[in-house]
Amino acid sequence: MSSINYAEKIPNNVNLSEDRKLQRALESWQPHYIDWWKEMGPEGTSTSEVYLRTAISAEPDGWAQFGHVKMEDYRWGIFLAPPEKDRKVNFGAHKGEDAWQEVPGEYRAMLRRLITVQGDTEPASVEQQRLLGKCCPSLYDLRNLFQVNVEEGRHLWAMVYLLHAHFGKDGREEAEEMLQRRSGDEDKPRILGAFNEKTADWLAFFMFTFITDRDGKYQLCALAESGFDPLSRSCRFMLTEEAHHMFVGESGVGRIIERACQVMKENRTDDVRKFGVIDLPTIQRYLNFHYSVTSDLYGAEVSTNAATSYNMGLKGRFEETKIGDDHQLENTTYSVLHPVNGGFQAIEVPALNALNERLRLDWAEDVAKGVERWNKIIAKYGIDFRLTLPHLAFNRAIGHFSDIAVDPSGKVISTEEFARRRDEWLPSQSDLAYVQSLMGGAVTQPGKFANWIAPPARGINNQAVDFDYVRFA
């Protein structure tokens, strides 16, 4: 049983008390973290008691301890998945060697960068979402938002532990800087672009958790394959929490769609805005935006960086050990779509250089399945409308599609046409203003839901939908 010691100031299952120096370093970082949470965490929630899930061990049966706690009292800490006996490096130049428990000296800089970039996204999303509680559509949703927030906080802890434990002074500095940067700040922005966008409304939040947290899932899956075992174990534990974020997003958007369909059917109209509900075309434009912005997070389609971290055994492919090849890819190619002469052409490139693209396509396929499940809701109401994912080249700012303008169907168009028709495809100012107008006061009566969203199919942890998921002091 890989229990978590909650008696410690920093709950952990890594025997922190046996490494006094590391314990002291993390204990000196902790107050700064709490200060950051108070300043940038969910606003105005210091006295609320939230029905949160806390892990008490890293084994499956220790996963979910539910109870009302104040978020500031949430037991953040350092939890690694149980070690896998005799684990090896499963890919790259070191394939077959024992997995590393310490950072190989020559890979120090690369690994530190990977961990820092991953770690930086965690507080960033808390910052992006800090005002959403003020306009929550229900206590159920408010609780889910807060659960997502505390888990992002814990993911930051997971990465900071790795930086402190394995990267000395450099790592401690990186950990400190993660608390200095701010999402959307002009002087000290977060590292990745998507994490500097505002999450101004709940539709954006649900899209973010459905699409962008799914990027998090794929990045974590790739890092969970790492030959650096502490990173792998950290990410494996984080993945279970990440799945919850995607549930919040998928079910949240699904419930907004459900409500739109109900109103369309009841009133035999597509014009549901006059009933205070979000229409399907607006949902489609939000989907286009979040999908294209998140696509950029994977980086360039053809990249030597990805090849290097794979070769080093630091970051693998999605489900690396389930793929039936040599896991070294020296003589393998991979087909990557390129912009060619006003159209597109699949070109074979060395597989090592196409790892970003491969991961992006795994993610895209996963997103597409979720969108299909949304379409089933619409079909259930007999409504002739389908949500679709835009072409991968649509609205891209990174990689080899960033120089061309493409409509959602994948037709290459002029930049002028794109600018002229932009509001057909991406949320316009008036879309954003309309959705914002629905985000009135918070709905905080147990069992009550804002008009624009349907209740969930079931409560949390078998509780009723009208359970008091958040208690206000």
């Binding site: 499956p60 049966d61 279970t240 919850h244 079910s251």
Partner: protein, 393 residues
């Protein structure tokens, strides 16, 4: 009809995150492009997948006469709730006469027509009989009375594994001891109260506990008390449709018992503790035994928070202490009991030895008289409203 318990995933709620498939130690979970599904033949109900599931979609257990195949499940848009599997369902048999006779004897004070509490869940009854029993495996058997005591009471946990055995707190199961009597006839069935809440000894585990006292020369009790871990037991039931716990969180429940009569109340209390910590209804327990060492579950009882249950213990054989019986404890708490008896939300349950009934009845009559209530009128009204239940043997 033989029902099996099948673990299924709700396709409406599931987000296909793969967590369950990754977690399952039996490799019983797989998926296609549409759904994640559970292979009935591989799933051993270990529940390792339940806690990590982020959606709750994994936590569905249906009773089926024939398990759904994975091909059935791949095609689902939603769970076939309310159906009992792809096989033809048959009507459940009536309780056998020997069980009816035993239940009638145990409830003769309140009579055969006493209704269950209005808010009680609907019980399954008579799913299994002597002729078509279900096999349970003994998951544990421990003596729960002090070693030096004459009273040998055992806590026996039976695990039903793949077989469905849905029960409610307060119901009983039937066990027929193996072998034959001196005349070569099969033994009579024995009924034992279930001591667990409906979700099992641990939430979601397909098991239940019994509280059984060894009676010298008693065939049934010696058979059960001597069971070893791993033994297989043939079980009939579940039985009983009136002595059931009210589900209303505002219901006050007065529980009075002696010895192994505590079994159903352990189920009641644990149900409240797990599912309705914030319930406004009060739980009061009056429990009689000769000494603390002979009182089953004495240790765990002492650990229960006062906010959950008001425990009153009566001991009749503690050296240098006056003898006390449950009716004495009832009188000690007359003010609180009178306040509860004045409420339509209050239920009284009595379980244990036949001899305790009269003393309790007199105590309630005295308490009511002192507080301006009419026990002679109140008791039949409570009985008709399903708020007064007695099971004694």
């Amino acid at each position: 009809m033989e029902l099996k318990r099948q673990h299924l995933i709700d396709p409406v709620v599931c987000i296909r995150c793969n967590t369950c498939e990754e977690t399952c130690p039996q490799d019983a979970i797989t998926h296609d492009r549409n759904n994640y599904v559970v292979m009935a033949e591989k799933c051993n109900f270990c529940r390792a997948c339940v806690s990590p599931c982020p959606t709750g979609a994994i936590d569905n257990w249906l009773l089926v006469s024939r398990p759904w195949s994975i091909d059935d499940q791949f095609g689902w848009e939603e769970l076939p709730v309310g159906e009992s599997g792809p096989g033809e369902a048959e009507a459940a048999p009536l309780p056998p006469e020997e069980v009816s006779d035993l239940l009638a004897a145990a409830t003769q004070t309140t009579g055969p027509m006493v209704p269950p509490p209005a808010s009680a869940a609907k019980p399954y009854t008579n799913l299994y009989s002597r002729e078509t029993p279900v096999t349970a495996r003994v998951a544990g058997n421990m003596r729960i009375t002090g070693d030096g005591t004459e009273s040998d009471i055992h806590h026996v946990v039976l695990d039903f594994q793949h077989n469905a055995f849905p029960f409610l707190e307060g119901q009983s199961i039937g066990i027929v001891p193996p072998g034959t009597d001196a005349k070569g006839r099969a033994y009579n069935i024995r009924l034992y109260s279930i001591a667990s809440p409906r979700e099992g000894e641990r939430t979601g585990f397909n098991n239940l506990a019994l509280t059984v006292k060894r009676v010298p020369g008693g065939v049934g009790s010696n058979y059960v008390c001597d069971l070893k871990k791993g033994d297989e037991v043939q079980v009939a039931g579940p039985f009983g449709q009136a002595f059931l716990m009210p589900d209303d969180p505002q219901a006050n429940i007065i529980m009075i018992c002696t010895g192994t009569g505590a079994a159903p109340f352990r189920g009641f209390t644990e149900r409240r503790r797990r599912n309705a910590q914030d319930a406004t209804g009060k739980l009061m327990l009056f429990f009689g035994a000769r000494t603390p060492e002979e009182l089953p579950y004495f240790g765990p009882l002492m650990k229960l928070p006062k906010s959950l249950i008001d425990v009153n213990l009566a001991f009749s054989r503690v050296p240098d202490r006056p003898k006390q019986y449950v009716q004495d404890k009832l009188r000690e708490r007359a003010d609180e009991l009178a306040a509860l008896l004045g409420s339509d939300k209050t239920h009284v349950f009595i379980c244990g030895l036949k001899g305790m009934e009269q003393g309790c009845d007199e105590a309630f009559a005295d308490i009511c008289r002192l507080h301006g209530l009419d026990w002679a009128g109140l008791r039949p009204r409570m009985r008709e409203e399903g708020r007064y239940h007695v099971e004694t043997y």
